[in-house]
Symmetry: D2
Subunit: 372 residues, 4 copies
């Protein structure tokens, strides 16, 4: 018999609690109790805290991985591999996720038990349960940041011998830098204003630039590479970016990362943009920014024939191959992002620490199975 | 013995003249008389007037086509097919063109004779001179608008069965619409505010939207397709865009096309952006726009997982295959863009008419060989 | 209440009959009455006779198209778009089809009613029933030959301006030639030994070569193109090929098409091979051929850096976009393959005529709805 | 003043000598003293012995790398990146190389001095001479086996998380296995019959299968992977393949590798075929094999929807990015292939040792600069 359900509940801006929850059902409450005929209910082995998302890795008799995206597997976008913008699982717009505002009304995955719809499509089964449990810290990253960072690197055209600049050394940035190395990059440079996070990036072989000390990025890149430009760049920051240098960091400058990446990237280069940009931002500083309109130096990108790929990562496009790389020891994603396991009940503290800039990726352990 | 040289000279904003010119030399005057060891001097059979560029189609014993880009064929970008941003032919930045400000100091091609550097790389030889002369109006389009429009369609992912919206019915827009059809699009919709240009688009099977009459693009698209979105969209307008609707058209709104394309394009769709965006625009209305910074609703594109490809078309990537399509009667590009032949000496009148919105693509005929 | 079921039954080599059949069930009899939980039973509006396959186009309240492949939509191959080799629907090997030996034991589709498993994945819904009925002869081709021919052209790299040689002017060959034109080929050359089929190819603008009259293919190609090679080639014949020329046609020469395509295709070109090659051929002339081993001049292909794509077409990768091209009048596939509607009960005659080389694609009309 | 020229001369089957040679000229003697206007004469720092080819790495004031292919940089194939089948440098057929029979009559590169035609296109300049000299053993591999092995892996679709089988543990096989790891493969399995070469493969993390001991490859693969198939396979052996198992190895079986790869590769998988297959093989055992016709089980590949890429590697497509990976310590190609430096005058001994199966890649050092 399963233990009682319990999980993280969002109470309002900055406020989360762990509460007792009803046991999951095969229905989608917020869409009129729509029944979920292809669903499964999973016992969660490990789940993550993400800056922008809340999602999960779970398992029952076998272990399985769950992408943070929810997708139907039947619509045109799913059939084309674009599971991040599934047409059927969110009445409001294309694309859905667990426990996230305006993303379809699905229950969050930071809990002991969770319902996964279209389970035969969404779940990735690990080949062997024991092997999976031995690497569960790494495999937990398959739900969100590892595919997301990889998507950024991949869509930026990173490959054998590339030089890359990764903007941001948070968990997605570190996962992206890890992915750049896995894809064969010659040099991976990570920029951030948080010294602990930069130290984490340096710990696995990245070059780093401390943006709180330097406001001339091309100059810094030239000191590393001999030329002031990189082949490819990835924006792992998104719209909450701040300015560079001693002063700049006080002010939110939502387009600063994108604009600096266009300066940094060589002609004919590509930019991957997994960092979140929103359509509406009530807390923004300007009227334009409130509707997601930013001052972008598109003329510069055009002059350099840049390409840009945006949007939520379609996790399913990448999770199987990344799982293989993890299971065969080709990548140490948990170590690189400093995955740190905490009990489910400490999730609120995890949120708080993460918000303060801890150079950690928190893994929640709702049944005490990971620590064991 | 060749006749005396003569060509279009740019005298300042809005002012061009046809003057007698020195016969071309194998050197690049404005880069310190740098010798051009791989150059040829061509007798020009046909050349074009383009809103943004001035470039050519020429021939001597055999007929050849010249891309508007100048490229060296030896640098990393050229080797990768990115001839629009060649690293060697413009000391100021990557990318060069004939007769264009800040593009390397090369003499313009609207003349009787012109020097082509790196000729063995840059020239496309037509298989047969007589066959080429019979289709010279179409082949003249290989230098600029046909590859440019095709590049826009191609990078927007247009293929068999696509629905496409092409912003702008100027020569590039009409060439792009033609390319969409050649690529197998199911429905090609062209939007503009100029009724003659829209009529031209309708004449070869495009659906059209008159933006001077309608300001709700998705509604118009829905009337045509049954859904308010297209699979792919191409911006053939660029930074000189104006607002839509009865009032909007009075004001320049440089990002309005890009922003409307994000609204119009379905999730996971792609946007091709061959329309010019500049790094510096002295005549712009705002400080931001003067340095090429525009208010772009990137949050919307991100939510829909859009991809964007910008920049000058790498003509060489496409011109051979488009030549084949022309020579074998698979496309009527001259008819579709309303190619209109005028003598070289009437070039200033051509510029003036084009500036007033004539639904024509002017082909210059410096030796009277096209009209013959 | 539906009318009684009735359909084509295969009685042995060369022998088919139309018989009364049991009404379809939601189970797979030949796999131990395995229940089909995602299945639907369709009333068939139109279905086809294919040389190698038997499959269907069907509909009930709305009209839908069914690929000849059966696929689960959940396995690794399906998720990657390789629905022709689904891992779950045939216990014997990857890949399944309706009514075909060794392809999973599924009931054939040349019947009044048929069960479609994994229906939410396999079916393609037409946007509008009336519009679909008006073009049902064309849409019927979406189940088999149109995607198959398109796959051959696409994987051979056919695109704007290509020169292509299509081996075989049977229904797949004609569908491939149609696809080459849709993809923008400059010249499409079709070779066969059947004058009626060649006439059919010529009727929509293909060049033709009568292989019963000529045994020097490169010479024939040179007369058409000016050069003895094409950019791309497609094998729409497969292992039942015969030799060329006046004598050759008497003997089966199973590798003759592949070998001639390597001679005909230029260096760095690609070969699409949708024509069927089998793993076991009891009727073959040699021991090698009986196990599918053919004498292939691989050294020639290697010297020319050729690439080869083989296998059953993954219909789902193409059927939506081809449907759009049909519905918007961009392609006349039924006319080009000479689609000929006959009642279900005349299917045996259709098989016989097809076997004799009729230049027709037979469409079966089990409810008299197409003829109406 | 340069020292006298000296180099390896091919005297006939199995017979090479180092002789004094004329100093190179800017002409192509065997094509009627055709002048080479874009050529350079290089002092060779390091060059290689390859089983099938003879080519070089050379340098003068700066260090440069030379692909074994000779290419013009102006023809259609070169412009498309297919430099392995350049149309202009070999009158007999597309594609040329240094010092190789029927490949254009170019002088070989195993010498102190060599002429490189179209030098501005063919040469890859190292960023820094001292840095290059420090890694010259690795960089010497850029001329032949490293790009060749990488091409095999890349065209087989090897990427993050792939399982791969590499047939052959000679220098190209080892370079391919190295490339698989660089591309992120989860498991790289190498098969050969030479225990020393297999040991070399195992030394850098490959799984190995000794084909002299085992004739059931799928069974061996299953012991390693848990399944009897791999995602991708590369043929680094070519037409001189021998049978497997205790007996089979006595007999040459030119198609045995290709046929076993089709058995081993999963459905929808790809095969890279950089191993040489020839159009004419005077020493072959059968009449078919003498003209390059082999008994290939194409029916099996077809049933599994395999794709095949053949041909000489277009070195230029890969050498820059592989150079970057070497210079930034992302790959240890010299160590992995056991690069062994010998003086030029010992080249005949190197040939003999290599022919006997030494697990070494011989690097020739004509000026004593590498050993220094």
């Amino acid at each position: 018999m399963p233990d009682a359900n319990r999980g993280v509940v969002y109470l309002g801006p900055g406020k989360v609690e762990v509460q007792d929850l009803e046991y999951p059902k095969f229905e989608l409450e917020e869409q009129g109790h729509r029944p979920l005929q292809h669903g499964v209910i999973l016992r969660v082995i490990a789940t993550n805290i993400c800056g922008s998302d809340q999602h999960m890795v779970r398992g029952r008799t076998t272990a399985v991985s769950v992408p943070f995206n929810i997708a139907c597997g039947r619509c045109r976008n799913c059939k084309a591999g674009n599971t991040g913008v599934c047409e059927n699982v969110n009445p409001a717009r294309d694309g859905a996720a667990y426990g996230y505002v305006d993303m379809g009304g699905w229950k969050g995955g930071q809990a002991r038990y969770v319902t996964v719809p279209y389970a035969d499509w969404n779940l990735l089964k690990f080949p062997d349960r024991d092997q999976a449990m031995a690497k569960i810290r790494d495999l937990a990253m398959l739900s969100d940041i590892f595919p997301t960072g990889y998507h950024g690197a991949y869509t930026a055209g990173v490959g054998t011998g590339s030089t890359v600049y990764v903007a941001g050394a948070g968990p997605v940035g570190l996962a992206c830098a890890t992915s750049c190395q896995l894809l064969g990059a010659a040099v991976t440079i990570v920029g951030d204003m948080n010294p602990q996070r930069l130290q984490q990036a340096a710990s696995f072989g990245c070059e780093t630039i401390d943006l709180s000390q330097h406001d001339n990025l091309p100059e810094q890149v030239e000191q590393i590479l001999g030329v002031p430009e990189v082949d490819a760049a990835v924006d792992c920051v998104g719209f909450e970016a701040r300015g560079h240098g001693a002063d700049g960091s006080q002010h939110e400058q939502p387009a600063t990362v994108l604009n600096s990446l266009m300066t940094l990237t060589r002609s004919a280069g590509k930019l991957g943009i997994p960092g979140l940009y929103v359509t509406g931002d009530p807390g923004a500083a300007t009227e334009d920014a409130k509707v997601g309109t930013l001052g972008i130096r598109i003329g510069l990108g055009w002059a350099k024939s840049h390409s840009f790929t945006t949007g939520q990562c379609p996790v399913m496009r990448y999770n199987r191959r990344l799982m293989m790389a993890i299971l065969h020891d080709k990548v140490q994603i948990a170590r690189n992002v400093n995955a740190t396991v905490i009990p489910l009940d400490q999730a609120p503290q995890g949120y708080a620490d993460f918000d303060k800039g801890a150079a950690k990726k928190f893994v929640l352990d709702p049944h005490g199975m990971v620590s064991a």
